[in-house]
């Protein structure tokens, strides 16, 4: 039996005040190999499409940065995030070129958080030192599991031994960064307590942040094909809730708070960059398939490198989709994103007419389901159990004429 926490989130709300942030995201679409479950925009190094190389990609990114800066007037950013793919694969000279171009095009003098995603088997001493020099202060390490069976079935490129070995070898260099580890829950090839063992093992490297994602079967992936033939492998939602509950308990004992559906941090070391997404801040994304949202206009870049580069060749932004959100859509997004976090949503984040109806609904729901949702006059937030069923709660909250028009 898992004890669900229902700590009133107002504590957090008063204890911390969150600065408004704006983020710059750079997508690096290279991986050593494609994992079985992955549908991200990324290419395996041994199967790069024509014309794509580290160098040509860096060139394209630099060009996009210049175009975007011209278009948007050299905005200022508070966070910088290299995500992928596997950004740690990027050769140092290319990475330096890219960062230099970003400095040239945007105002990044006040970057508070500079994250780079890395896989354990791509770490080396020289890279770690150079990343530091470039200003990287946070590493997000994709571990996923420390079970060899799971790593193999998931198609990861390293073993438990290799991952832990790399972390141990570079313990000192790693200590210079805020470390975050990604782990997967609900892996059908391991038993539910494996993730707890993995967390304990990883504590040795003193992470300040952990992301626990549920393994998801994305259509079109090798995993999806496998699950079609072996339905017993399909992720089980109850198991997720159990694993999450147990992991959360363990993490809380060590001072980690679940500040978002899948994210835990210690000492307020939240991912500021990601908080920008959840708090409706502006962000600019560069690279294939990257998305941006600036003042309610959302764009997505071409997913295929060929299309992405062709647009840039024509001196055009490589945007494939563009949508301007209505006020209602923005409000709905604010709600569904804010409720993912422990701060929930507060009165000043929504138009008043919507807030009033929402608050009344929330109180009614909180009365019926005190273990899921907390509503006080100024703020609505979900408990941990509530976060697991956030979709159903958002749907309940958004029912009826709340929004004045159909969303």
């Amino acid at each position: 039996m898992i004890i669900e926490k229902s700590s009133p989130p107002k504590d957090h709300a008063t204890r911390y005040s969150l600065p408004a942030t704006s983020g710059l995201y750079i997508h690096i679409p290279f991986c050593l190999q494609r994992c079985a479950y992955c549908d991200f925009a990324s290419y395996a190094l041994n199967a790069l499409p024509n014309g794509l190389s580290f160098g040509s990609y860096a060139d394209a990114l630099i060009k996009e940065a210049r175009l975007a800066a011209k278009e948007r007037g050299a905005p200022r950013f508070s966070t910088l995030y290299f995500g992928g793919g596997t950004p740690s694969l990027m050769p140092l000279d290319e990475l330096r070129r890219i960062v230099a171009a970003l400095r040239e095009s945007f105002n990044v003098s006040q970057i508070e958080e500079f994250t780079l995603e890395a896989n354990p088997d791509t770490l080396d001493g020289e890279k770690l030192a150079s990343w530091r020099e470039l200003g990287v202060n946070r590493l997000s390490l994709g571990i996923q599991s420390l079970s060899d069976t799971s790593l193999k079935e998931l198609g990861r490129s390293y073993s438990r031994e290799e991952a832990l070995g790399a972390l141990a070898r570079h313990r000192d260099e790693l200590a210079a960064f805020d470390l975050s580890f990604d782990l997967l829950l609900n892996i059908p090839w391991q038993n539910p307590s494996q993730v707890l063992d993995d967390i304990r093992t990883l504590y040795a490297f003193e992470p300040v942040h952990l992301s626990l994602y549920s393994l998801k079967v994305e259509p079109g992936t090798p995993l999806a094909m496998r699950v079609a033939n072996e339905p017993e492998l399909a992720p089980d939602k109850d198991r997720f809730a159990d694993e999450m509950g147990a992991a959360e308990k363990l993490l809380e004992e060590s001072g980690f708070a679940r500040y978002e559906v899948s994210n835990f941090a210690r000492d307020g070391k939240w991912s500021l960059h990601n908080l920008t997404y959840w708090r409706g801040g502006n962000y600019l994304g560069l690279g294939v398939n990257a998305t941006s949202c600036i003042r309610g206009v959302r764009t997505r870049n071409h997913r295929e490198f060929a299309d992405y580069r062709a647009a840039l060749m024509r001196n055009e932004l490589p945007v494939a989709e563009r949508a301007e959100l209505t006020e209602t859509e923005r409000a709905f997004e604010r709600l569904m994103l804010a409720l993912r976090t422990m701060w929930g949503i507060s009165r000043d984040e929504l138009p008043l007419r919507i807030w009033k109806k929402l608050q009344a609904k929330a109180e009614e729901l909180a009365e019926r389901h005190p273990q899921l949702i907390v509503a006080i006059p100024e703020r609505i937030a979900l408990t941990s159990a509530g976060m697991n069923v956030e979709h159903a709660l958002v749907v309940e909250l958004a029912e009826g004429d709340l929004w004045g028009e159909p969303v």
Partner: protein, 592 residues
């Protein structure tokens, strides 16, 4: 007329061709099955009338009308009305199947009308044709000699010219008197959005012309004829109809209740003394509730039912309301196929999305206080302590089968609470088994079982045979402790628990998880006979939601939100339409 699939519509095609009634470029198979539903299912649902011109071997030109009728038992009302407009009938029998149950029932209808009957064996082109045996069966049925029976292939056209010749020679011309006062029997109708009601009439006596002032003899309503003519099969305006003609009349009839099937049209100036005897109003046998999936479409559903019932006089309906489903209609049908067809027509022809409740028969409930109620909605059956007994409708069923399947079929009927009445043999290989059966027992999966047990060779027909007392109970379905009126059903006490279990199990699978635990129970009175639990939802959130995932997530939630709005709720539990449908499917089993 014939048993289902014996080839009526195909034979009609050949006749249309030989009489050059249809432009060859427009010709297609089963031409008269003009409804999409008929074409998709390959069955006739509505009768179709056509006036034909035939040049006979004697050199004379004959005008005659042809009506293609449905074969399925649910639509036999269409046959019986058609026969009122006829002088003779072609009794068509599939050479591979022989005489089947509806062959006999349709034959009896024609004999009752005193029509000239021409027996015809069809599908003689088939290698498995059993022409000689089929002849024996026909002679066993109506007497006569082999050479009076025609043999045709509606597919190849072989024998069809001889059939046309026989029609011209054997079927007498209509008897009516054109000088007598007008009597035109309305045997069908449909609604035309531009011209109002189209009355399909058989003129028994007298004449009618454009501009005539007419009167409906039963309702007394008056109208002016704005057009009349023949079906060819498209409308051919002649401005005139006289005794013996089958045709249509328009008279600007907007209110569809004003031109009732079975009424007689006469002239206002010179009315006939009495109307033609109309039709025995058919009693619906199967009932269910129809609700618009979107409650806002209630008015549209109402209008659609009104129009559809004009074209389907066997359909009956009245308003009802359900706690779970809101306002809707209790509808009565002649059988499950009829119900299914009406639902599909509402959905296609009127673009409505319908939720149907489980079909039920009409029960007679005798109360302790001496009162008697007829209840066709299980949710309205009074509480058990007020009831003295419940009676349910029985049918007298006739099964025609090759003798080797006789004992298996008797077994089947016994399982279905049947009581054997008689067995007759009209040839040495074919048995006619008569059974009394509860109507409710033949509605569900009975045909399939019958076909399976007899390798498809047995056929079945039934007629209502009064009410009998049965040990019936109402099974209530409780969702989160609240009764779901639309899901209540009647069952024989011995079967109640089994059925209750099946229904709650289906509901457990189809009702999505909620934020709380939802018990689903089946109960007889206060006695719970089956129970399932839908565990609380514990996870639905997507784990990753970063910049690129936001739009996807918003759209997902919007869909979920809209989906929820379309669900019905009982207490605080949302029930998707599929749950109602699944329960219905399990009741209705496989349909034809």
């Amino acid at each position: 007329m014939a048993h289902i699939d014996h080839g009526k519509s195909t034979l009609a095609d050949r006749i249309l061709e030989l009489t050059a009634s249809v432009d060859p470029r427009k010709m297609r198979e089963q031409f008269l099955d003009s409804m999409d539903l008929e074409r998709e299912r390959g069955i006739t649902i509505k009768m179709q009338a056509v006036r034909l011109r035939y040049e006979a071997e004697d050199g004379a030109t004959y005008e005659f009308g042809l009506i293609d009728t449905p074969g399925h038992v649910d639509f036999s009302y269409e046959v019986s009305r058609s026969l009122k407009a006829c002088e003779g009938a072609v009794l068509l029998i599939d050479a591979a199947q022989g005489v089947e149950a509806q062959t006999i029932s349709n034959l009896n209808l024609a004999i009752d009308e005193g029509l000239e009957i021409i027996p015809v064996i069809n599908k003689i082109d088939l290698p498995v044709a059993r022409v000689a045996q089929t002849e024996d069966e026909i002679i066993g049925l109506i007497g006569g000699t082999r050479d009076e029976i025609l043999k045709v292939s509606a597919k190849t056209g072989e024998g069809v010219p001889e059939l046309l010749e026989a029609i011209a020679q054997r079927i007498p011309p209509p008897k009516g008197n054109s000088d007598a006062p007008l009597q035109a029997l309305i045997f069908d109708s449909h609604y035309d959005p531009y011209r109002g009601t189209v009355c399909y009439v058989r003129v028994m006596n007298g004449e009618v012309e454009d501009g005539d002032a007419i009167r409906m003899m039963n309702t007394g309503k008056r109208f002016d004829v704005s057009g009349c003519g023949y079906f060819r099969p498209q409308l051919e305006e002649t401005g005139h109809l006289s005794a013996g003609d089958v045709g249509y009349i328009f008279a600007g009839i907007k209110d569809i209740g004003d031109a009732q099937v079975g009424d007689t049209i006469t002239l206002n100036q010179r009315p006939a003394g009495k109307p033609v005897p109309g039709f025995r109003r058919v009693k619906p046998l199967v009932f269910c509730g129809f609700y618009a999936a979107d409650n806002e479409d209630y008015d549209d559903l109402k209008a659609a039912l009104a129009r559809l019932s004009l074209n389907d006089s066997a359909l009956q309906y009245e308003q009802e309301s359900s706690e779970a489903l809101g306002f809707g209609f209790r509808c009565g049908f002649l059988g499950l196929l009829h119900m299914e067809i009406v639902q599909e027509r509402l959905e296609r022809e009127y673009q409505l999305d319908i939720v149907a409740t489980a079909p039920s028969v009409a029960f007679e409930v005798e109360l302790r206080d001496g009162g008697v109620q007829t209840v066709d909605n299980p949710a309205r059956i009074p509480p058990p302590d007020e009831i003295r007994c419940i009676k349910e409708p029985y049918v007298l069923g006739t099964i025609l089968t090759p003798v080797q399947y006789q004992s298996a079929l008797i077994e089947l009927c016994k399982e279905r609470r049947g009581e054997l009445k008689d067995i007759q043999y009209f040839t040495s290989e074919r048995a006619n088994i008569y059974f009394y059966l509860p109507l409710s027992e033949i509605l569900y999966e009975f045909y399939d079982a019958l076909k399976t047990q007899s390798r498809g060779l047995a056929s079945f027909d039934y007629e209502l045979a009064g009410y009998r007392e049965s040990d019936l109970v109402r099974v209530d379905i409780l969702i989160n402790k609240e009764p779901a009126d639309a899901l209540a059903f009647m069952a024989h006490r011995k079967r109640a628990q089994q059925r209750g279990r099946e229904v709650v199990e289906i509901l457990r699978r189809t009702i999505p998880r909620h934020l709380f635990i939802v018990p689903v129970q089946a109960a007889i009175g206060s006695n719970i006979i089956a129970r399932e639990t839908i565990p609380a939802l514990r996870k639905d959130v997507i784990a990753k939601c970063y910049g690129g995932d936001i739009t996807r997530k918003r759209k997902l939630l919007e869909r979920q939100r809209k989906g929820k709005q379309r669900m019905r709720s009982i207490g605080s539990v949302s029930i998707p339409q599929e749950a109602f449908l699944a329960v219905l499917k399990q009741d209705g089993g496989k349909k034809k």
